[in-house]
């Protein structure tokens, strides 16, 4: 278990354009840390810099408190699982698993023991003599995991290890990897572009966009308090509903004349803001509620929940998510209501306005 720290790290491949901008983050020992972001945002680049496969253009990388910028990959005491698994096609599963032990001058006996241990842990004992091409995708993935485990390295890096698997296997491997990490107490840095994977696996996660860290924190914190509109729409599925609005005291004026009255004063400083609401916070109104009427444009019944797309304004559609199966059809007009605490406000430039509506558990009861 070792701490990994990046301090003002920049990376540029061509000497001109920075692919990573001023990244500072500290990853605690034993933590499951997830790097998440859309394709091309620089996740792999960061991972590869930590592994030592790419040079760091400027800034410092510390592992266990020691600067390791110039240390070759093999001396950083870490293991890595590649997206395509990087298994040697000509070696058997067993040889693949023990390949990394060569350098560590470990006796043949100990190698065999560790290999069997890892194989047992991952259910690979029957395949030790097979070649990788004789294995299924999930089994190959496990071989790659086993290869990382046998080194007993305190740090493990994984680059989208599940992206080649089907949805069901992915869900299974997700929990397997998580359990393994807990059991072995490894510090894990895990790259994914899948926000579900990030939400379900991470102790803490970092959201990246165009080489800049957008937010670092625990999944639920990020879900509930996204620091900008990018994070708000990236995390959560369906994403957070966002719309531009003008503020008039406690009135929210959307385009095309829709207005919502809140019982609190809104951020005073700006006129034009962006309003965000998570789909699960938009409810069907009871007769006593403050409500607004909206036209339904699409309904998706998913079994356990129903996604209702409605017109907020002429050209802005929001999605509401209700649990259960609802018999609503496109074209119907429905009364909707939104809990006031559920509103999030962002500056026009995307940054969240630090204006939480005062917790008003009491007030909630009052006007329902």
């Amino acid at each position: 278990m070792e701490q990994i720290e990046l301090v003002h790290v920049y990376k540029s491949y061509n000497g001109k354009d920075n692919v990573i901008h001023d990244l500072s983050v500290s990853i605690e020992p034993g933590e499951f840390f997830v790097l998440v972001g859309p394709s091309g945002c620089g996740k792999s680049t960061i991972l590869r810099m930590i592994a030592g496969l790419e040079t760091i253009t400027s800034g410092t990388l510390l592992i266990g408190g020691i600067e390791v910028n110039e240390l070759p990959p093999s001396e950083r005491n870490l293991s890595m699982v590649f997206q395509n698994y990087a298994l040697y096609p000509h070696l058997t599963v067993e040889q693949n698993i023990t390949f990394g032990l060569y350098k560590k001058k470990i006796s043949k006996q100990e190698q065999k023991k560790r290999c069997l241990e890892a194989a047992e842990m991952l259910g690979l004992t029957d395949f030790l003599k097979h070649k990788p091409r004789q294995l299924s995708g999930g089994q190959r993935q496990r071989v790659a995991l086993a290869r990382a485990i046998v080194t007993h390295a305190p740090i493990c890096l994984m680059d989208e290890p599940l992206s080649n698997l089907d949805a069901k296997l992915r869900a299974k491997m997700r929990s397997e990897i998580r359990q393994l990490q807990r059991r072995l107490g490894i510090t894990m840095i895990y790259v994914t572009h899948d926000q579900v994977e990030a939400m379900t696996m991470a102790d803490r996660m970092m959201i990246l966009h165009e080489g800049r860290a957008q937010q670092i924190g625990a999944p639920l914190d990020i879900y509930n308090h996204p620091s900008n509109t990018f994070v708000a729409s990236f995390i959560g599925s369906p994403p957070m509903n966002l719309a531009k609005a003008k503020v008039l005291e406690s009135l929210l004026l959307f385009d095309n004349g829709r207005a919502m009255r809140l019982h609190h004063h809104l951020p005073p400083s700006t006129q034009q803001i962006i309003v965000g609401v998570r789909p699960e916070h938009i409810r069907l109104a009871k007769p006593s509620d403050d409500h607004f009427i909206a036209k339904v444009v699409n309904v998706e019944v998913l079994g356990t929940e129903t996604l209702v797309t409605f017109e907020l304004t002429k050209n802005e559609h929001w999605i509401a998510r209700w649990s259960g199966q609802w018999n609503i059809h496109a074209g119907e007009k429905v009364p909707l209501t939104i809990d006031e605490t559920a509103f999030l406000f962002f500056h026009e430039n995307g940054q969240r306005l630090d204006h939480s509506i005062p917790s008003y558990a009491a007030g909630k009861g009052e006007h329902q």
């Binding site: 093999s74 395509n84 040697y88 000509h90």
Partner: protein
């Protein structure tokens, strides 16, 4: 209920057979252009050669008398032909391993990510762009005992008057050296292509494991390159057995038949001595020799090849 259904789902036997005939015919039509070309330029000359090898011929190459295996029997007793076999085998042994090993070393170097490596890649593969005739002429000048650059350089070290192409002891080696030089371009390029085809994450994984260069070469690079190595060796081998151009230009089979490899001997028998029967018989023998060697290579060499 069942009976009509089953008839419907699978067509009756004659219908199926008719369809099979059609698809076969269609396939043959697609193949026809290349079949015709192959027949005219490959199969017909080949059969004709086999046919001629059983005949004594006149000076125009017309078969005169059927002699059975006489031509072959004569050849196998002929000292000149045995010398040709020896020269050919020596030539193959000199050129094939050396070209492949040298090209492999060059390819490994050129595959490193270094500044300006593209320039070296071009240099190393440039001999591929030169015709055998042109490079042979260049080498002929270089080997020239009085004006050649090689002897001039050697004379700086006190070695003088090496008769590169006239000394029967070293003529074959001289020809081999120039052949290796000519072969390297092609072999290098194919091997470099093979190296670049290897998944770079395998090397990254090895870097994280921290294995040494030699271990990596032995355990990762060579096994993964083995299909390419096998291909290159097979092609070089066949190519080497069939060498003609450089021999014709550099030594004309001399001195004292030292470089009279089989293909050159065939040429001499056919177009200088007008002995087409004997030439054809040699050609047939060479064909089978290459066939056997290639077969052996596939049988024993391919076992060590890891196809992915």
């Amino acid at each position: 209920m069942n009976a009509p259904l089953s008839v419907k789902s699978s067509p009756s036997v004659p219908v199926r057979r008719k369809r099979a005939v059609w698809t076969t015919l269609e396939g043959i039509v697609y193949l026809l252009p290349s079949l015709i070309l192959f027949s005219i330029f490959l199969f017909y000359p080949m059969l004709k050669t086999v046919y001629l090898s059983f005949y004594a011929t006149d000076h125009q190459g017309n078969p005169v008398q059927f002699v059975g295996i006489e031509n072959f029997v004569y050849l196998l007793k002929d000292v000149n032909f045995l010398q040709s076999i020896k020269a050919t085998l020596l030539f193959v042994c000199y050129t094939v391993p050396a070209s492949v090993v040298l090209a492999l070393c060059l390819a490994l170097m050129a595959n490193e990510k270094l500044k300006g490596i593209g320039l070296f890649r071009t240099f190393f593969s440039s001999t591929m762009g030169m015709s055998v005739a042109a490079s042979s002429v260049i080498w002929m000048f270089m080997y020239n005992p009085s004006i050649g650059v090689i002897n001039k350089v050697l004379s700086l070290f006190g070695i003088s008057d090496v008769q590169w192409l006239l000394d029967p002891k070293i003529a074959l080696i001289s020809v081999s050296i120039s052949t290796i030089w000519m072969n390297i371009g092609f072999t290098f390029l194919i091997l470099l292509g093979g190296l670049q085809n290897i998944d770079p994450t395998l090397y990254e994984s090895a870097r994280i494991a921290g294995v040494s260069y030699w271990y990596q070469l032995r355990k990762v690079t060579l096994p993964l390159l083995s299909p390419t190595l096998f291909f290159v060796t097979t092609v070089s081998l066949i190519h080497s057995f069939q060498t003609f151009g450089q021999i014709d230009i550099l030594t004309k089979g001399g001195p004292m038949d030292a470089t009279n490899v089989i293909v050159y001997s065939i040429y001499k028998d056919a177009f200088i001595n007008y002995n087409f029967g004997s030439a054809s018989a040699q050609a047939v023998l060479l064909f089978f020799a290459i066939l056997v060697v290639t077969f052996l290579q596939f049988k024993f060499g391919e076992r060590k090849v890891h196809y992915q």
